[in-house]
Each structure stands twice: as C-alpha cells, then as structure tokens.
Amino acid sequence: MGQIALQGVQKSFGPVHIIKGADLDITDGSFVVFVGPSGCGKTTLLRLIAGLEDVTGGAILIDGRNVVDVPPAKRGLSMVFQSYALYPHMSVRGNIAFGLKMAGLPKAEINRKVEAAAATLNLTPYLERKPRELSGGQRQRVAIGRAIVREPKAFLFDEPLSNLDAALRVQMRLEVTRLQKQLATTAIYVTHDQVEAMTMADKIVVLNAGKIEQYGSPLDLYERPNNLFVAGFIGSPKMNFISGEAARQQGAPTIGVRPEHLKVERAGQGGWPGTVSVAEHLGSDTFLYVDAGQLGMLTARYIGELSLSPGDKVSLSPEPARIHRFDESGNAIHA
C-alpha cells in the first residue's frame, strides 16, 4: 500500500515561506509528477514527504498514519536523488544491499533480493563494479535498484534524469514508467520538464511559488487549465495569450489559443493577419512565429511541412471550440 495524503502542509525557512499550504491526495499505485519552474518548491515538497526536511505545519499521511514525526527511514519510502548519491567506495552490490544491511536482514535474503533487483534492471554483469566504472545511465539504474530493493510504499524521484543526455533521457523515461507500472508502487516524481511530466504521469501537480496551481491528469491539464499559469506552463510550444479587443470579441478579458489550434491560411482569408518572422521546419511539424501586429507575437504549429519563409503574409484563425477564456485575475472561465 502506498497512499499518501498532504493536509495543509507548510514549510518556511526562517521568514521565507516555501510551501504555503499544500493539500493533495495520492492514490495507491499512481504515478504523480510534481512540475513547476525552478524555485517553486517542488523539491522541498518531495523532501518534506521523504522526511529529509521537517514540516512547519500541517500533516503528511502515509496509509492514513501521520508521519511528520517519523524519521525518514521509518516512513517506508525510498528516494532516487538527482546526483544519484551512490556510495563511491561500495560496489554496485554493496550500494543496492546497503539499505537491507541496515535493516538487519540475513545475508542470503539480501543476496537474493539484490540479484532479483539487478536482474530487473539489467545490472547483473555490473554487480561487482564500483560506481565510477559505470556510465551515467547505469549509475541511474543502480540508484533505482537501491530504491526498489527495499520494496517501499512509494518511490520518490528528485529530477533523476536531468544529468543524462537527451537520447538516454527518453529511454530512461520509458524504463522508469514501465518499471513503475510493473511494480504497481506509488511514485512521486519531481521535474521541471513538462514533457517528462506529460509523458510519465498518471496525475500532474503543477506548482508555482509554493502553491499547488492544479492537480489532474495530463490531458485534463492540457484541455482544461485552471488558470493562466497552468495554461502557459503545460504544452509546448507555449499557449498564445491574447488580450484587448480580439479577446473581448470572444467574451473574456484574456483568451488563450494553443499553437496547434491556430489554423494557418494564406493572407486575406479572414482571421488574424500577420507576417511570418521565423519558420522552423522539423519535417513532422512546422512552427511559425508570426508577428500579428497589435496581437503581438503568435506561435502556430502546423502538422506536416508548410513551405513558408520569413516575410510571408498569413492569416491565423483559432478553432472556436479550443479557445480558453480567462477572467481579470487569470482564472479560467469554464463554459
């Protein structure tokens, strides 16, 4: 079981409030991603759950039991650190076994569990090596092995893929997700990369300045963002925000249109006129950065190749059903 609930969790360092009251329910076996810009408190929130930091106020419940006064090792959670934090003088086997050794398990059982974990992660040939003799991806796997061998109630990941190169990151992303589904253990994963969040999560927590802005499934956040922050943070390229006369015509002070929901046509077809200032041709997509006069710079995404070059006149029209409307304080107006 790995049900985690936060109730009004607060954390301040001296006079600085890092977490301003977080409420959250994480169901057993789900993969939850904390995402937000740097400094939003996502790592602090994870460390509070881990017990590496003490809460200033509120309660953290694991399977219904308040654990704010329980030391980290007794919470039944395991953590994968950003730097992996492998013990450099121990072999891979020693690293994975350390937690079990501290728990005082008999040697035979430790060996059995370590070898099972190593087999799951394809680490068996490297068991006797030292961390410095491994590649980045292998070290990452050892760190994960150290976490899974203890059969925790939940895994905590603190930006574990940020030290890997792009290709390896995509591969490890897949492996972590697959492993989590296979073990069916609750996982909390911190990242600043919204692509990681969208691809891995069952549910995403968007954090900003110590507050939970929205908690929901990836598509929920994409289709029904609660406010301007979530709307701008989720989705790549970023959502276009338009205010002024064009927005008022749609019945809101500010409207948002995602680049993929802007139809690009030749000039003079109605919609918003503009001039292409940059065109990025990826083959599968074409990103257009269009100077739309009073509306500002708009980004449009066209699926497939569109042979436009800077200086070309275009006309952009939003899909009416895909327009997001926001009130003066930035909250979404749901129809």
């Binding site: 030391p71 980290p72 953590m79 013990y87 350390f98 937690g99």
Partner: protein, 307 residues
C-alpha cells in the same frame, strides 16, 4: 632526501608541457640552468657526505684524515645507540601519527558542525601549527610540564597527587605529546576539508536507507576519509622522521638515550662528539631508512591515492 624528489618533478613538468619538437628542445634548454643548479645543490652535499663517511675525520684531531673504508658505517650500525634511536624514531613517528589521526577525526567532525563563533574556534585550533617548534617545546617544558611551576603540576597538586616529572619519568611520551600537539591541527585541517567535500545527498541517501549516525560514520564517512588520512600519514611521516628541535630544547636526547632519535643521534655524533665521519655515515643510513619507510608506506597506504 627532498632534493631528488623536486628534481624529478621539475623534469616531469618540463615534459608535461609538450608542444612541438622545436619548443620541446627549447624548453629543455631553458630549463637546463634551473635543473642544473638543483642537481648541483643536491649532488655536491651528497658526494661530500659519501666522501666524509669513508674517512676517519674528527674535528678534535682534524690533521689526521685517513681513508677507513666502511668502518664508520660498521661503528654506527653496531653502536647500541643506533638501535635505541631507531626504536625511538619509530615509536615517535607511530605514536604521533596515531594520536593526531585518532584525535583529528573527532575534532574535524566537531568543527564541521555549525556552532557559534565557528571561524574563531577554527582559527584557535589551527594556531599551534604556526608556533615554531622551539617555542612550543619551551612553552610545554616550562609552563605546562615543569614539575614545580608547571600547570600540570599545579593541577596534580590541586587533587593532592604527586606532580609528574615528565622529562625524567616519561621523557619519550612527553616529547610525543608536544609533537602531537603541533601536528594535530594539520591532521584536523586536512580531515575537515575532506568532511566538507562529502556529498550531502550521500548522507541523505544513507539516512533514507536507515543508517543511524554511527552506521553513517562507519560506512560512509570513514571510507570517504581514507584518502585524506593517507595524505596525513605520508606528509606527517616525512616531517616526523626528522623531529629535532623539540628534543633538543626539552630533553637533549636524554635521560640516557631515551629520547634520542636518528636525527638527534647524527647531530650528537657531529657536534657533541665532533666525529664528522661517523655522522656522515649516520646521515646516509638515515637516507636509507627514510626510503625504506617510504617504500612500505606507499605499499600499505598508497593505493588509497589511486583514483
């Protein structure tokens, strides 16, 4: 002992900065005067020492210098004073190493904690290292260990005990205490910087793995300190083999031979007995001993330095 080492490092640096063949040749040419000077600096004293060691050469009778072959070595090595001083040297080096490391680790752990006035505490801990050996030996001899007017005697009397006459009853131990006091800051400082470089996330990982303070110390901190401890052992040994001022100022090698180490024995051969030949032989023996010690040290602890 130190000169051949520095010579080697100079020539290494010369080849390390490799450029084209032309600049390499030029580099050698330009380095030559410095290397040559260092070489002469080393080779002339060494050659003279070897030369003197084969002579019967006593300053009291400097007219009659005659070649005696290896007799000086035979006399020096079979002298009971040599075995005694060799033993004293090893006891001194070993004890000071053990004391400085065993006390240095807890001290470094304490100094690593955030306490009020930490920078001042650190400065005071480092201070003994900057006191010159003669001065610190005098302070210990006259202010602390003096059996009548010393602080230790006063404390002993406070509790009704008989003051210890350090330099008569436990002379070698007294010297070990003084030298340890001087080298403790060095060990502490090296170990402290090593502690500060210990990855915070590693300690947290150990905490998550359920390791308590003691387990974290044994399994994480001590292995991390293996390398700095090696550095402390190697560097301290180099200097501790040649301890002289502390002995000269406090006990003068006595009582008897109880605090005479190799360095002091050579000094007494040369400047108390005026026997230049025997002192030269002793000096060469000391070079050999230092190299034997270095050989074993590097074999025992040197592998910790390999990355």
């Amino acid at each position: 002992m130190a000169t051949p080492l520095s010579l080697e490092s100079v020539s290494q640096r010369g080849t390390a900065a490799t450029g084209t063949r032309q600049t390499q040749g030029l580099a050698r040419l330009l380095l030559a005067p410095a290397v040559g000077l260092l070489f002469i600096w080393m080779i002339v004293p060494l050659a003279l020492t070897i030369y003197f060691s084969t002579l019967h050469y006593n300053l009291l009778d400097s007219e009659s210098q005659q070649f005696v072959g290896l007799d000086n070595f035979r006399y020096f090595l079979t002298d009971p004073a040599f075995i005694a001083s060799l033993q004293n040297t090893l006891v001194l080096v070993g004890s000071v190493l053990a004391l400085t490391i065993l006390l240095g680790i807890p001290l470094a752990l304490l100094l690593d904690q955030p306490v009020l006035g930490r920078s001042i505490v650190r400065l005071m801990v480092i201070a003994p290292f900057f006191v010159m050996p003669t001065v610190s030996a005098l302070v210990w001899k006259n202010l602390l260990m003096h059996p009548v007017s010393g602080l230790f005697a006063w404390i002993a009397k406070l509790f009704g005990a008989t003051p210890i006459d350090w330099f008569n009853d436990a002379p070698l131990f007294a010297v070990i205490l003084i030298v340890s006091w001087q080298w403790l800051p060095f060990a502490t400082l090296i170990l402290l910087t090593a502690l500060q470089s210990l990855d915070e996330e590693q300690k947290e990982a150990a905490e998550m793995d359920g390791a308590g303070a003691l387990s974290t110390f044994i399994y994480i901190t001590v292995p991390h300190l293996a390398r700095p401890i090696t550095v402390v052992i190697l560097i301290e040994t180099i200097f501790l083999l040649t301890v002289f001022a502390e002995i000269f100022v406090t006990t003068g090698g006595g009582p008897g031979l109880q605090t005479t180490n190799i360095a002091f024995l050579i000094y007494s051969q040369a400047l108390i007995q005026y026997d230049i030949g025997s002192a030269s032989a002793g000096g060469l023996v000391a070079v050999v001993i230092a190299n034997i010690v270095a050989f074993f040290l590097v074999r025992i602890v040197g592998r910790n330095l390999e990355a």
